[in-house]
């Protein structure tokens, strides 16, 4: 879906700048595990096993950090998650 390159434009450059913001996806009683897995695959371009691992983290721990980067990037991701009906937030990575 062409979303993977938005996920982490710093990757592969070799210099990791500190990523100040994160996208968090939260557990809710409505979203289906199968659906959440497919959303993570489709939007974040994750392999199926990785998408399932993140989905389980959401389900069991209540939340999972799906991405880190600039505030603007995280706003794009959070908007996309809200588009899918998932409950996502952005926050500063230092808490």
């Amino acid at each position: 879906m062409g979303t993977q390159e938005r996920l982490d434009p710093q990757a592969g450059v070799g210099t990791r700048v500190r990523e100040p913001w994160v996208t968090v996806v939260w557990n809710d009683p409505v979203n289906l595990m199968s659906y959440v897995t497919r959303v993570f695959q489709e939007y974040f371009g994750l392999a199926r096993h990785e998408a399932e691992a993140r989905m389980r983290e959401v389900h069991e721990k209540g939340r999972s950090v799906l991405s880190s980067g600039s505030r603007e990037q995280m706003e794009i991701h959070v908007q996309a998650m809200h588009g899918y009906g998932l409950w996502a937030t952005l926050e500063r990575s230092d808490g």
């Binding site: 009683p29 289906l32 659906y35 199926r48 899918y84 009906g85």
Partner: protein
Amino acid sequence: MRAFAERDGAAVAALDEEERLVIARIVADVGLLLGAESFGSEPHSTLPHREDLAESLRFLDGVEDDPVEPEDPALLRLLPNAAPRDREVADEFRRLTQEDLRATKIARLRRLWDDLSAEATEWVVPTEQVMPMAAALTDVRLVVASRLALASDEDAEALHAEIARAAEAAEQGTEAEPPVDPERLWLGMLYDALTWLQESLVSVRLGGTA
């Protein structure tokens, strides 16, 4: 009702006329909740809080101004707070994204409503429409779940226990004890049907998308 299954590269389910009508009505209600024009010629309502609709939509009056957080918890679930601990970030996010999100959700719901309003028993969802359709079903389920006050996994389990209790009583021709509110039972069964449909839709693997 027959769940979605793969056929000729598409996801195909079957719903009878009444099932399609019931689901189409609640889809239209969710569209209205988001501020859409009525789907179809005459608006119907199945949601119990129709009288609250004008109140829910009042936030649209100030659409020229910065959007405010919806007071209706169901609408808030469709357009959530993106930063509960940071008011400035949350407000900025809502200002930047809310109109786009509403438009996206309304367009998908309208397509779902159109599909359900077609004069056909079979419901055919082509590959590229599977996720948008699943997302529209999610939005409908979020609203129904909010009306059912399902805030946790335990709430969802309690609802299932209630429905099972009512079904068992109905089978034996007796009243459930303690009694189950019929409106809650009806919404709960609708919620379960939508969940079952969505699960089958998402589980269909088309064109090697596994």
